[in-house]
């Protein structure tokens, strides 16, 4: 089996989610080629060998610095043909998922997104997907000879070994039609931990009583190296930016640890956090439904518990 992995970069380095995709591909067996688009750090390219790639195609074209979906789809489609790829693997993201969908159409591949574990290949090629916003899963058979798999966070463990990769420049002729959208500008929270990728998330709800009280949650998040999130009412009231809204119609997170402070736990919020490994709920209402979905719970006033918790963590970590 020949597997191609699209590696997404951030500031020239492979994103952790893409390393998961690479390790997923390695676990599938067969030969693994990685493809990186736009300017990238040379060492970072070389290091992809440690995660299972035997070959790295680098399309360094400066026009690919911005994630233009159509252009990315053209390059990856060409690579699938050149490499005689059976399976394309990538990590779900706002860039990779639409690219994957387009590549699937252009190559006549079966497509699945939000895949949560390795396929079952005992009869056919069946993948397990998260559906109903994390409330259920389904197994689907990918019938076509070519397959495109977009994996969800934590579908594979990142394992480093001593492998090395051959890095090859990769050139694809692009036309104006490949740049059918123009990115005028982008603003991204830099330096902070990004919410969709965070291993620990600290979220606040209406129980925080106002945006002016977020300092204590940020302090707790900083202590843990966590990202901050919030419930829908909090983002609706503009206490926090929309991209921090965790839930059914917001960001779905899958961290190791999710700490919810002053969030009652409506089913729509739970839909965004049910892939978390461990959930801690702090709420002054002992009847808050969130406690039923939690691993650990504290009934108490956030304004009292959170600073104490931050202090205890500072002492312990």
């Amino acid at each position: 089996m020949s597997v191609l992995v699209f590696i997404e970069t951030s500031e020239g380095k492979a994103k952790k989610s893409s390393l998961e995709a690479l390790c997923y591909a390695k676990a599938l067996g067969g030969s693994v080629t990685a493809i990186v688009l736009g300017p990238a750090d040379a060492n970072s390219l070389q290091d992809l060998g440690k995660y299972g790639a035997s070959k790295v195609l680098h399309a360094a074209d400066a026009k690919l610095e911005q994630g233009i979906i159509q252009a990315y789809a053209t390059v990856i489609t060409k690579a699938m043909v050149d490499e005689n790829t059976d399976v394309l693997v990538l990590a779900n993201s706002s860039l990779a998922t639409p690219v994957a969908a387009k590549v699937a159409i252009k190559t006549g591949a079966s497509f699945a997104s939000n895949v949560t574990e390795l396929p079952d290949i005992t009869s056919g090629f069946k993948v397990k997907r998260s559906i109903y916003t994390g409330k259920a899963f389904c197994w689907q058979e990918l019938k076509n000879a070519k397959k495109v798999i977009a994996i969800k966070k934590n579908a594979a463990e990142v394992i480093e070994n001593s492998g090395s990769a051959m890095v090859t420049p990769y050139v694809v002729q692009l036309s104006d039609a490949d740049f059918n959208t123009t990115i005028l500008s982008s603003e991204k929270a830099t330096g902070d931990v990004l919410l969709p990728e965070a291993e620990i998330v600290v979220s606040g709800g209406r129980g925080m009583k106002g945006p002016e009280h977020w300092g204590m949650l940020e302090e707790l998040a900083k202590t843990l190296g966590a990202a901050t999130g919030c419930s829908k009412p909090v983002s609706d009231m503009h206490w926090r930016p929309h991209h921090e809204h965790v839930g059914q119609t917001g960001v779905k997170v899958a961290p190791q640890l999710y700490i919810a402070v002053g969030i009652s736990g409506a089913i729509q919020h739970l839909a965004g956090v049910n892939s978390s490994k461990c959930i801690v709920v702090i709420n002054k209402d002992p009847e808050a439904p969130f406690f039923k979905a939690a691993d650990y719970g504290i009934v108490g006033d956030a304004f009292d518990v959170v600073p104490k918790l931050t202090a205890a963590l500072k002492a312990a970590l």
């Binding site: 979906i69 789809a73 993201s93 706002s94 860039l95 639409p98 994957a100 969908a101 387009k102 699937a104 159409i105 497509f111 699945a112 997104s113 939000n114 069946k126 998260s130 109903y132 409330k135 259920a136 389904c138 197994w139 689907q140 990918l142 019938k143 059918n180 959208t181 123009t182 990115i183 005028l184 500008s185 982008s186 603003e187 991204k188 929270a189 919410l195 969709p196 620990i200 929309h242 991209h243 059914q248 119609t249 190791q256 640890l257 089913i267 729509q268 490994k277 461990c278 406690f291 039923k292 691993d295 650990y296 504290i298 009934v299 009292d304 518990v305 918790l309 205890a312 312990a316 970590l317």
Partner: protein, 244 residues
Amino acid sequence: MKILVCISHVPDTTSKINFIDNNTRFDANGVQFIIGPYDDYALARAIELKEANPGTTVTVLNVGPADTEPTIRKALAIGADDAIRVNTEPTDSFFVASQIAEHAKGYDLILMGRESIDYNSGVVHAMVGDLLGLPSVSPVMKLDVDGTKVKMTREIEGGKEQVEANLPLVAGCQEPIAEWKIPNMRGIMSAKTKPLKVVEPVAVAASVVLSKFELPAPKGAVKMIAADAVADLVAKLKNEAKVI
């Protein structure tokens, strides 16, 4: 301007999900079906554009069997002019995108939600764009049409970007692109007589076949910790859950 809004017919966000027939079929018993919440944002923005630009028409399209018609009528009650129902089960993204592409030619703006909340693939807009050779942008939080240019704000991980493209265009929408609209009595009455065309699907070879559903493993009981014993929580997170 001609706008097409594609809507999904999905279980209400508060629904408990269950399966029947040896985990091969969704249990619709007692489930309330709604217009997909993201599709509802797309519809609301389409109606706003119609109100602001005289001569604009809004058509809604749903790929689904006859029992989705109350959902389609609700979209008409909200303000769409007419509707198309492609009479078939929406089996997978490529199948649905192929059906939409068949009817989407000639529209200037093809809007839908960023994803349906049942299968969550979030790719139908990209696939429709590809099938029709049109630009597709998602998830769009703001969309303004200026002549033939469309200016959009697209959400990306941890931020957003400003994107521009020409009509015709496909966009997957999400909040806060517009406020959800609630049908008024006049809308509900007029929806009953608005045209709803039923068409048969085009043949598409199944590339993905569902084999079975599965529910997540049940969660163990919550361990409660006293508010004055936060050190105990820290110890448990470290030694028991091993997450810090």
